[in-house]
């Protein structure tokens, strides 16, 4: 059976979907991805759908599921390379693909992942709670 290849780029997994996704293939991809996230400790997943002419509700739900599963495993998912025609069709059909982050191309997808990670780390100190907690050990060490 065909499988969609999953490439490792540093701590990001890159999946480029080149063929029409059928039920079996989609389920296999979902399994492969979650295995790989755990085994490589990846922090981000990029799914490239440049080659897809049609994104229907099935593919949409699969993308949402992958995003949710990755989120549970602490990896952000970004869908990249959606074609204009696909986007127009999805809007006309009223399928907004909730819960999926998107970027124009792989490059911007990587940037988005990097930015989210920086923000995630910056958050504790930004809202004031992280700051004192971080300073506390230093204060204990000093005397």
């Amino acid at each position: 059976m065909d499988r969609v290849p999953v490439l490792t780029l540093g701590d990001v997994l890159l999946v480029s979907i080149q063929v029409d996704l059928e039920d079996q293939l989609a389920l296999a991809l979902q399994e492969d991805l979650s295995d790989r996230i755990v085994s490589t400790g990846a922090r981000g997943v990029i799914i490239d759908i440049t080659a897809l002419d049609i994104v229907d509700s099935f593919v949409g739900r699969m993308l949402a599921t992958i995003a949710a599963v990755s989120k549970v495993l602490d990896a952000e998912t970004v869908v990249v390379g959606m074609r204009p025609a696909v986007a127009i069709t999805l809007v006309e059909l009223g399928l907004p693909l909730r819960g999926i982050r998107t970027a124009l191309n792989v490059d911007l997808g990587l940037k988005l992942l990097r930015k989210t990670r920086i923000e995630a780390f910056a958050e504790p100190s930004a809202d004031g709670r992280g700051g004192p907690a971080h300073d506390a050990p230093a204060a204990v060490d000093l005397p």
């Binding site: 970004v78 869908v79 990249v80 959606m82 074609r83 204009p84 696909v86 986007a87 127009i88 999805l90 809007v91 006309e92 907004p96 693909l97 982050r101 998107t102 970027a103 124009l104 191309n105 490059d107 911007l108 997808g109 988005l112």
Partner: protein, 287 residues
């Protein structure tokens, strides 16, 4: 029309050519009010007259007969030309119908067939008149189609404002066809330039109703699906009031009052800092 009538008409037209042509040209010229030079008009009418005379000579009994094909071609050319030059339908039709009056005076009074000939001639010219109308309307339609296509091309430019920021200044009423073109152009441009920010400037849109808002929202959602953020700018006070009173929800879409604010937002969001150069101390050498 029978062959004898057409032969008689042909004979009259050849014999009285100059007199009829002068009358015809004269009455057509009155309606043209100097928008066409006399030489040009005379040449056009002469061509048609001669074609008509030879059609009768060749035994054309109706306007559809093969002998009249040349004549119909000339008439079609004439009305196309008139349509392109902005003459009205009446002015164009008179160019043909005036021939009836011109010929009537020249028909032989003493001849018993005069009435019959004129009626037949009149029917023939009526056919030509219908053909004129047909061509005129078609030519006008072609002009309108061409122009609306050109308008569509002209009115939807996608411009790059900054590295990673593109803008579409929308001008004029947004209908389904136009918004479709705008949407496709914008999304294509996003892919080509890899710009994560797009600004839809609606300063030039005269009114926003639910339909227009729907189109704008669809464009914004499609751009978001592709991974770009859309900012709507150029919302005039009246339009803002209309939007609110119509109950249109823009939700999380960023809206700005003018293009400059939108650009500033996009730049800030993409991490570009804008600063005025600090006032420099007078480093210039004194003259």
């Amino acid at each position: 029309m029978d062959t004898e009538t057409s032969a008689r008409l042909s004979a009259v037209m050849v014999a009285r050519r100059d007199a009829v042509l002068e009358k015809w040209t004269g009455s057509v010229r009155e309606t043209m009010r100097g928008r066409l030079t006399k030489t040009e008009l005379t040449r056009q009418l002469e061509d048609i007259y001669d074609a008509l005379a030879s059609a009768f000579g060749a035994g054309a009994l109706t306007a559809e007969s093969p002998a009249a094909a040349d004549l119909l071609g000339l008439i079609a050319d004439l009305s196309r030309l008139r349509a392109r030059h902005g003459f009205t339908a009446t002015e164009t039709a008179i160019s043909v119908f005036a021939l009836k009056d011109a010929l009537l005076d020249e028909l032989d009074d003493s001849n018993a067939t005069r009435l019959n000939d004129f009626v037949e001639f009149s029917l023939f010219v009526d056919k030509l008149g219908l053909h004129t109308f047909e061509t005129y309307v078609n030519a006008r339609d072609a002009v309108i189609t061409e122009q609306s296509e050109q308008l569509l091309e002209l009115s939807t430019p996608v411009v790059k404002l900054w590295d990673g920021v593109v803008a579409v200044p929308l001008i004029g009423t947004l209908d389904s066809a136009r918004s479709q073109v705008v949407m496709e152009r914008l999304l294509q441009m996003l892919v080509e330039t890899g710009s994560p920010y797009a600004i839809l400037d609606i300063t030039g849109v005269p009114a926003v109703d639910t339909q227009v808002a729907q189109h704008i929202l669809k464009t914004v959602m499609a751009a978001q699906l592709m991974g770009a953020q859309c900012i709507i700018s150029g919302i005039r006070p009246q339009i803002a009031q209309t939007i609110v009173s119509l109950g249109i929800e823009f939700g999380e879409i960023v809206t700005k009052a003018n293009l400059s604010d939108a650009l500033q937002y996009a730049l800030r969001a993409s991490g570009v800092e804008i600063a005025r150069p600090a006032t420099r101390p007078a480093t210039r050498p004194a003259l």
